[in-house]
């Protein structure tokens, strides 16, 4: 038993030495929205109360354990024939204490927090729509300076880091290619939905988390009060990529936000201009798109993970013809599959733009061990036409 005590002490010492890492917190991370602040207060208060109950009860128990021992020759009090009225009276005391705690001391602040949390519309100045899909977030600004901006935010951590083949970066698993950008100080109403399964958009420092339900629209809000980069994760099990679906929010001043919005809008316009591209250009861009969006399932090499995720290398669809004699794309062709998806394979038409789709298809047909004999090249214009 001595050994065990040592073990316990050792573990405890290790425990105390933990504050080493800078961004670890022993409590909720630093709140940056009114909601998170409120939540933290509620949490602290409740924790304190429960700790007091725990310690008080524990103290009584320990006192009893130490004194009322058989080995010490303590004689049990002869509880008189249990007078039930008296017993019931005594048992009502703990009842009353918890009644007070539950419905007054804890209940009232809890009431106010809930009301505040659910009030998404009052004084909100901006609306964004967040769509969760396996396994990326899609952001769309519905009004204001940034109206019309729409982009996808993917995990940016490299595969090598995940498989311990490269050193892990500082924000391992909590970094994305396109963070959501929000202006500081504005109350932003968030509409939440999903395209396939449930997801949950969660940034601990914002104190808001809401399930994204496919087909339904749920609401929450954030009002970031301090500029900075905030990180969180998807919090509802959504399949194998659930651990790889981070949320990164970049909160910037209103001016910076306006600038960013302008720039982004221009970029988006340029990307929507469909222009003729060479095969090399397409393959080069396609590789980027592929590794970001498709490699989770079909793997970087194109080998897939059969039987769940088919290999693209040697796939009939990825090497066979796309366009029929009439120039239209055929059902179950490569373009059809990528645009419209099937089963677990997502539909990409709402997520990727014409150039990206053209690029990724061209890439798949000319790399990953494939050389397509027909329709080796798909042009953005053809994708655009296919959408109609």
């Amino acid at each position: 038993m001595q050994g065990m005590k040592k073990l316990g002490v050792g573990a405890f010492a290790l425990f105390l030495s933990l504050s080493a890492r800078a961004d670890f917190t022993w409590n909720f991370p630093e709140p940056v929205t009114p909601m998170a602040l409120d939540t933290l207060h509620v949490h602290n208060k409740f924790m304190l109360i429960t700790a007091v109950i725990f310690v008080a009860v524990l103290a009584i128990m320990i006192y009893s354990i130490v004194t009322h021992r058989h080995s010490k020759g303590y004689k049990p009090v002869a509880d008189k024939a249990p007078s039930t009225a008296v017993e019931i009276f005594w048992t009502l005391i703990p009842f009353a204490i918890l009644l007070l705690i539950d419905f007054v001391i804890m209940g009232i602040p809890a009431y106010h927090s809930v009301v505040m949390m659910e009030d998404t519309r009052d004084q909100s100045t901006m609306v964004i729509k967040i769509t969760g899909s396996q396994w990326r977030w899609q952001y769309e600004y519905l009004d204001g300076d940034a109206k019309g901006i729409k982009f996808v935010s993917n995990l940016a951590t490299s595969n090598d880091q995940m498989h311990n083949e490269a050193d892990k970066g500082e924000h391992y698993l909590l970094e994305v290619d396109n963070p959501l950008v929000l202006p500081v100080g504005e109350k932003v109403r968030i509409l939440m939905t999903a395209s396939d399964v449930l997801h949950n958009w969660w940034v601990p420092q914002f104190g808001s988390s809401r399930v994204a339900v496919p087909g339904f629209i749920r609401e929450t809000w954030v009002q970031v009060e301090k500029a900075g980069v905030y990180r969180g994760q998807c919090k509802e099990l959504c399949g194998k990529g659930h651990g790889y679906m981070p949320v990164v929010v970049n909160a910037v001043s209103k001016e910076e936000f306006a600038q960013w919005a302008n720039k982004k809008q221009d970029e988006q316009k340029a990307a929507n201009d469909v222009k003729e591209m060479t095969k090399d250009e397409l393959v080069a861009q396609g590789k980027v798109v592929y590794e970001k969006n498709c490699a989770v399932c079909h793997q970087v090499t194109g080998a897939g993970l059969p039987p769940a995720f088919p290999a693209l290398t040697g796939s009939k669809i990825a090497t066979g013809p796309i366009f029929g004699a009439d120039g239209k794309y055929q059902k179950d062709s490569h373009l059809d599959r990528v645009l419209n998806g099937k089963g677990v394979m997502p539909a990409w038409k709402a997520t990727l733009n014409d150039t990206e789709i053209a690029a990724v298809i061209t890439y798949e047909r000319n790399a990953l061990g494939n050389t397509a004999a027909v329709d080796a090249l798909v042009q953005p214009a053809q994708v655009k036409a296919a959408r109609e």
């Binding site: 396939d196 399964v197 087909g215 339904f216 629209i217 039987p307 089963g343 394979m345 539909a347």
Partner: protein, 310 residues
Amino acid sequence: MASHSENHYFVPHGSIYPALISVGLLSMASGFVFNVTGSDTRLDGSIKNPALSYLATPGKYMMYLGLAIILTMMFKWLSTVVTESITGQYKKWEDKSFRIGMIVFICSEVAFFAAFFGALFYMRVLSVPDLASYAPDITPYKDFLSAWPSQGPGGTVLGEAYKPNPEFHPMSWSGLPLINTLLLLSSGATITWAHWGLIKNNRKQLIIGLFLTIALGVTFLCCQAAEYHHAYTEMGLTLKSGAYGATFFMLTGFHGFHVTIGTLMLIVIWLRSIKGHFTPEHHFGFEGVAWYWHFVDVVWLGLYIFVYML
């Protein structure tokens, strides 16, 4: 010695039937999974798992095998119980156990139906109106209006496109359903009449009453089959018709399944009555079935009100 047997609780011999039924259940369940995995199709009719389609046939046989084991063992178990009963092993004390057990079992059946009624209320009152309530600029369902019966707004989920059937009609409360209601209600009366016969030791009344109940039950099932046929062929109403179709068929389907079981049990006690089993004092077998039948009746009333009428 007289008082002795009064207070004797019957603990039966060991029996292998329960363990074998479990084997049957295992075979049936896994067979079902194999079969359904192998043969499953999408809404558009294509096979979901072509790579696993070879599982369908062996799965089917496993299912049948399991079912055969279960039915055989059930039958044998039941015969043992009947033998024990007619050789007078069960006295008041055992009888009371069976009664309480049956009541509790029926309560669990009530809870099972409650889940489906709950689903019906939830969709009618919450999810269908919710889906129709979003502001026009953000809703994915532009022209969807909340009204019951509903097949839902349609759309693509998990890569499968679902379109509500424009030719769809809900089931009306009159016609066959009304006839069915009358059938079941009168079957409740005939079984009570049979019970009176049993208590008065009027065997003829017992046997005729049971026969009438069975006949009504079978007629009910035929009517329901006709109703389903009509729904599938002429009304565009199928299991796949959104919220309405799903709840309609699952509720009436499980009810129909219970009527089938009930009718089979009625046939068993009918045959037993003909053979001269049951006495005015001692007839748990009869009463258990009668309770079950009344329960099935009450569920139908709930169905008739909430599925057909409202």
